[in-house]
Amino acid sequence: MTKLKIENNIRALRFQNDEMTQAELASQCGVTRQTILAIEQSKYTPSLELAYKISNAFSKEIGEVFQQTQQLS
């Protein structure tokens, strides 16, 4: 099964939004700080619901936060 490689610019967006901390973003999205860290490091791909929550925290569209960079075979 082909797996998509998905990256994000959450870290940059956090700094653009009054230097929001991981803990603050995690609290807004209802997850732990370590989950946000794992997402930023591309070690974990969030569910659609969590991806929307993160995007809404920055008042951005989901495509502006998460990008498909390449398709892995």
Partner: protein, 156 residues
């Protein structure tokens, strides 16, 4: 490295250490066996009770040290995913090892007799069966804890 370790992950490490302590207590018991099967069954029961009691006490102490007076934060989707995968690994280990024990108890002796060879891993009396099941439970618990630790560190 430590900024990425949550209290939950530290609790899992403490679970693994407690499981290892239980395993060492059990191995120490096996090494000091006298060979009298009836006495050994009673001693096996005592050592299992000892392991459970020590595990509960150490678990409470570890929880207090790691979390303080706060309750552990609720599991989020990543925690649930890792917990599910680790539980699956532990469950399949338990099933496979128990099937192996059933095979050894019910079938293995007859097959080895058929081929005229001694069964070096015979499990026939209650003491051996009790120990085999206990080893399965310990192995399953260790694998579950190790799986959680690996999944928290690597890419999901």
């Amino acid at each position: 490295m430590f900024e990425s370790i949550s209290n939950r992950e530290m609790n899992i490490w403490s679970e693994l250490i407690i499981d290892l302590i239980g395993m060492f207590i059990y191995i120490n018991f096996l090494v000091t066996l006298s060979g009298n099967d009836n006495q050994s069954l009673y001693d096996l029961g005592k050592v299992v009770t000892k392991i459970i009691a020590i595990s509960i006490v150490l678990g409470i102490v570890a929880h207090i040290v790691i979390n303080g007076k706060n309750n552990q934060e609720p599991m989020d989707e990543r925690d649930l995913l890792i917990d599910g995968r680790a539980a699956k690994a532990g469950y399949y280990t338990l099933i496979v090892l128990n099937i192996f024990i059933l095979w050894q108890v019910a079938v293995s002796d007859r097959i080895m007799d058929f081929f005229g060879r001694p069964n070096t891993l015979s499990i026939s009396n209650p003491f051996e069966i009790g120990n085999a099941i206990l080893i399965c439970i310990i192995a399953s618990g260790l694998l579950k804890a190790c799986t959680k630790i690996v999944l928290y560190r690597k890419k999901l």
